[in-house]
């Protein structure tokens, strides 16, 4: 009911009832029109992008691409598929998440449960924000400095005292920095959403703070941990700058040494993003069909991760704390 309709004791006859609201000004109409226009344009653009890659991908993806390795050549048949780049993507994201998850959960727990001295907490928050805002090419160059030093020489190939510095370890370590802020912010949000009475009940039962965190809070915050992990993995899979600089740019796995898994980790290789970059018209491989196929696979992986995040957030919304 608009204010005009409320019974008010007035001297004289009532003014005629106005419309529900005053007529829209021209500028408001223009604003609304622009919003609709841009909104529909955005939908169209998003739809066009998704459709474009779906169509091109389905045209060019073949099962043989998943099973053969890339090989040097000039024609589509000679250049092989992207088995090693795909394995490289999974390997590098596994290393990155294996480093980022424990550190991220630890930092998030400290920030939300302990947080003393307060100055350190503020510095830590700013640090995480700063890491989130650092360009990945700068992280890559820092990685070169770290991993070309003799102290970390065992993590990559070295010849006569000169450390190569580029390996799966190096790329994975720097990519974990890319994923860290996402893990920290999501886990922290999850932990802070748990009401205090849960913690108090646990203390009342005699649990230490650490045991409470480990046995009560973190399991309860599991959807947030999963969300953070998947968002972080999504960013790690999509990063190309660190891969180009720190992974050595060999299309197939180039093992260093003879120990089975370790030689792969210390050696060089490539990932799907590098494979797409290499086969684009601006890259050396110049196989557009392979680039489309690899881009399609990459999109499917990202889509799967996004669906996973959706499911995890829906599950967390179902958990309602009785307060």
């Amino acid at each position: 009911m608009s204010l005009l309709e409320l019974p008010v004791s007035q001297p004289g006859p009532r003014a005629p009832r106005a419309a529900q609201s005053p007529p829209w000004r021209l500028i408001d109409r223009i604003g609304l029109a622009v919003a609709w226009l841009l909104g529909l344009l955005f939908c169209a653009l998003a739809g066009a992008l998704v459709l474009y890659f779906l169509v091109q991908g389905i045209k060019y993806v073949r099962p043989s691409l998943f099973l053969t390795n890339p090989s040097p050549g000039f024609t589509a048949t000679a250049t092989g598929g992207f088995l090693d780049p795909m394995l490289g993507t999974m390997l590098v994201s596994a290393i990155a998440m294996a480093i980022a998850l424990p550190i991220g959960i630890g930092v998030a727990v400290w920030l939300s449960e302990y947080g003393r001295p307060a100055a350190l907490a503020r510095v830590a928050e700013s640090t995480i924000e700063m890491i989130a805002g650092t360009p990945s090419i700068v992280l890559a160059l820092f990685g070169i400095l770290l991993f070309e030093s003799p102290a970390l020489g065992f993590l990559s190939r070295s010849s006569e005292g000169v450390v190569f510095g580029r390996s799966f370890f190096a790329a994975g370590a720097m990519l974990s920095l890319v994923a860290l802020p996402l893990v920290v912010s999501n886990v922290r949000e999850g932990l802070e959403a748990i009401p205090d009475h849960v913690r108090e009940a646990s203390y009342a039962l005699g649990k230490t703070k650490f045991a409470t965190t480990r046995r009560v809070l973190l399991p309860a915050a599991r959807p947030s941990v999963l969300t953070g992990a998947m968002l972080g993995a999504g960013r790690v899979i999509g990063d190309t700058a660190i891969i180009v600089v720190l992974l050595g740019a060999t299309l197939t796995f180039d093992r260093s040494g003879s120990v089975p898994l370790l030689s792969t980790l210390r050696g060089t290789g490539s990932t799907l993003t590098y494979y797409v970059f290499y086969n684009a018209p601006t890259g050396e491989g110049n196989q557009p069909t392979k680039a489309y196929a690899a881009a399609f696979v990459l999109l499917m992986i990202v889509l799967a991760l996004n669906v996973g995040v959706d499911i995890a957030t829906r599950r967390s919304r179902r958990l309602r704390w009785s307060s």
């Binding site: 203390y203 005699g206 230490t208 890259g283 050396e284």
Partner: protein
């Protein structure tokens, strides 16, 4: 409700409460001990694995240099691995000049370069490996078939800018010259052999590998660029032109009639030459198996038949 129970309830609602002494729950010692043992065991298992030096069975030899010869070198590494199983080559194609610098600074154990040694290549020793030619290539839509060497120089110096100034091309559009950057041996070779020491014009696109040059020419019908023979083959999608009437193919290069014939050089450090790399260079130069591999995309010079 007793007084103390009321006090407990108030405390519980006001702030966090913890008991000073735990109840009978004291499993921590056991868990902590088990965790400690687990950690120590894992560390003990992992450390010797990490400490194993890389040269356990296979020797790794690190090299860098020319991207123009990368196809040939990849095939040669594979061929050499059949004869000497325990040598593993790692090659980074960052350009011939960059490769020489890597050897000078001991970042690579060997390099492959596509230009003759210069005084700035101090502290290295260089060996001729095989012959190659620097081809000038255009897009397939361009009908030019023969270019004089001086005209090619003027195109890359920015003097001629339109295809209408080049006879036989059938185009009237602006020329898009594409070349290499200064890390490339091909760049220096082109500068010495074609531009007579002058620097290529600023409108020449400088790309960092021969593969990129070939790709760029393939996508632009107004392009002209220079690539090694290995990247100018039939399946590369670009068309080579004759220079001064001589075609860029193996026969003309072997007889050295083609004006831009060049030797491919292997570079080693002077003071600490790597023996595995030296053996490899010997094999490439002289063995007949290597000669057959080289003949596919370059020209063998000294190999036994």
């Amino acid at each position: 409700m007793t007084v103390s129970e009321t006090r407990l309830r108030t405390r519980l609602t006001e702030g966090r409460v913890s008991r000073r002494e735990p109840l009978a729950l004291r499993p921590k010692k056991g868990i902590a001990l088990r965790l400690k043992i687990r950690t120590v065991a894992v560390t003990a298992a992992v450390t010797p694995v990490l400490a194993v030096p890389s040269a356990a069975a296979a020797a790794t030899v690190i090299g860098s240099g020319s991207s123009a010869e990368q196809p040939v070198l990849t095939a040669l590494f594979a061929g050499y691995a059949k004869v000497h199983r325990n040598v593993h080559f790692v090659y980074t194609a960052d350009g011939g000049n960059a490769g020489v610098k890597d050897v000078q600074q001991r970042r690579s154990q060997f390099a492959v370069n596509t230009r003759a040694p210069l005084p700035s290549d101090s502290r290295t020793v260089q060996y001729k490996l095989f012959l190659d030619g620097l081809c000038v290539a255009v897009n397939k839509a361009n009908s030019v078939s023969n270019v004089r060497l001086t005209r090619a120089a003027n195109i890359f110096l920015g003097v001629f800018t339109s295809w209408s100034q080049v006879s036989g091309s059938g185009l009237t559009t602006t020329i898009d010259p594409i070349g290499r950057n200064s890390a490339a041996g091909s760049y220096t070779f082109f500068q010495q052999a074609v531009l007579k020491g002058q620097t290529q014009a600023s409108n020449v696109e400088q790309l960092s590998s021969d593969g990129l040059v070939a790709t760029a020419i393939k996508h632009d019908k107004n392009a002209i660029g220079y690539v090694g023979l290995a990247h100018a083959g039939k399946s590369s999608g670009i068309k080579t032109v004759k220079l001064n009437g001589v075609a860029c193919n193996a026969t003309q290069i072997k007889s050295q009639k083609y004006p831009l014939t060049r030797f491919i050089w292997g570079v080693l450090s002077l003071k600490h030459p790597n023996s595995a790399a030296a053996q490899f260079f010997d094999w490439v130069r002289t063995s007949s198996a290597a000669g057959k591999i080289v003949a596919k995309s370059a020209v063998p010079a000294f190999n036994k038949k």
